[in-house]
C-alpha cells in the first residue's frame, strides 16, 4: 500500500456545475493533452485518402472529395482513459452515417486503420445514428497533426483512445477483433460511464 503523499492532489478539481458530466474516475482539464505513441505522422493532403468498407470493396475519397461531403459542427465532451476529461469541445467533420450510406455499408464491426500503424475497433452500431464523425477541424481551425490531423475518428461516447488519430480507413468486418491497445489489455468496448478501461472491467 503506497503511502498518501501529504498535500498532493491531481490537477484541476472539478467545479460543482460539472457533476454528472464527468464519468467516474475522471478529472477535468482545460488543456488538450497530446498523448502519443510515436512520431507525429504528417501526410500531405495531396496524398491523403479515406476509405470505408470491406477489404477489396472500399469506397475511397481524396481530400478534395472528402471536404466536399456534407459536414457537421458538433460540440461534445471527451474522456481519455488516462483519466482526463474535457467538456464542450467543438469539432467539424463528416458524420460516419454519411460515409456508411455512401459506401453502402454492411458489417457489424469496424476496424479503424491509421497512419503510424495504429488501429482500434468499434462496433458499427456505435458509429451510426449521429454518434461518430471523421473530424478535420477542432475549435474552428484545421486539425493539427499532433491532435490527429488531417483527420481523426471522433467517437465521444467511448474512451478517447477509440477516437483514432490520423485515421485513413474504416474497415468493415464480421468479427470484433481487438485493435492495437485492446490487444494489450484495454477494454474491447470502452464505455467511460461504466469505467471500462481494461479487459474484464
Amino acid at each position: 500500500m503506497s503511502p498518501v503523499s501529504r498535500g498532493f492532489h491531481r490537477r484541476h478539481q472539478d467545479p460543482a456545475e460539472t457533476v454528472g458530466r464527468v464519468p467516474p474516475g475522471q478529472y477535468l482539464t482545460k488543456d488538450f493533452p497530446v498523448l502519443s505513441a510515436g512520431p507525429t505522422p504528417r501526410t500531405a493532403l495531396d496524398r491523403w485518402s479515406f476509405s470505408v468498407g470491406r477489404v477489396g470493396r472500399q469506397k475511397t475519397w481524396n481530400w478534395a472529395e472528402f471536404r466536399a461531403l456534407p459536414s457537421q459542427d458538433v460540440t461534445v465532451d471527451i474522456h481519455c482513459v488516462t483519466k482526463w476529461s474535457k467538456l464542450d469541445t467543438s469539432w467539424q467533420g463528416v458524420s460516419v452515417d454519411t460515409l456508411l450510406d455512401l459506401a453502402g455499408h454492411d458489417g457489424p464491426f469496424a476496424m479503424a486503420h491509421c497512419d503510424g500503424g495504429y488501429t482500434t475497433n468499434v462496433p458499427v452500431a456505435d458509429l451510426t445514428s449521429g454518434k461518430a464523425w471523421v473530424a478535420y477541424a477542432y475549435d474552428g481551425q484545421p486539425l493539427e497533426p499532433e491532435h490527429g490531423g488531417p483527420a481523426r475518428l471522433l467517437v465521444p461516447h467511448l474512451y478517447f483512445w477509440k477516437s483514432a488519430k490520423w485515421v485513413r480507413s474504416l474497415e468493415l468486418r464480421d468479427t470484433n477483433d481487438p485493435g492495437f491497445w485492446e490487444n494489450y489489455g484495454y477494454h474491447i468496448y470502452g464505455d467511460p460511464w461504466r469505467e471500462q478501461r481494461y479487459a474484464g472491467d
Binding site: 493533452p33 498523448l35 505513441a37 482513459v81 499532433e146 491497445w181 494489450y184 489489455g185
Partner: protein
C-alpha cells in the same frame, strides 16, 4: 509530446526483467539499427509505453501496465541483450 529515451524506462525495465537494461544492446527487427536501449526513442503517457527505433521509427517494444501487471511486447526487436 516529444520523445524521451530509454533512460526514462530504466525503472520499468528493471522491474520487468529483474535487472538493469538501459545499457543492454538492442537490434531493430526492421532495419537492423543497433544501439543500447538507453538510446531508443520512448513515448510515455499514451495508454502504454512505446519504444521505437531511432532510425526507422518502427515499434520495438510496448509496455502496458494494468492493475499492477505489466505486459511486454518485444516482437519488434531482432536482438535484446
Amino acid at each position: 509530446m516529444e520523445a524521451v529515451d530509454g533512460n526514462a524506462i530504466g525503472g520499468l525495465m528493471h522491474e520487468v526483467f529483474g535487472t538493469e537494461m538501459t545499457a543492454t544492446a538492442s537490434v531493430c527487427g526492421n532495419c537492423g539499427d543497433a544501439r543500447p536501449v538507453a538510446e531508443l526513442m520512448v513515448y510515455l503517457q499514451a495508454p502504454g509505453t512505446v519504444v521505437r527505433c531511432r532510425t526507422c521509427d518502427s515499434m520495438l517494444m510496448v509496455f502496458v501496465t494494468i492493475h499492477d501487471r505489466t505486459c511486454v511486447d518485444l516482437h519488434g526487436l531482432a536482438v535484446l541483450g
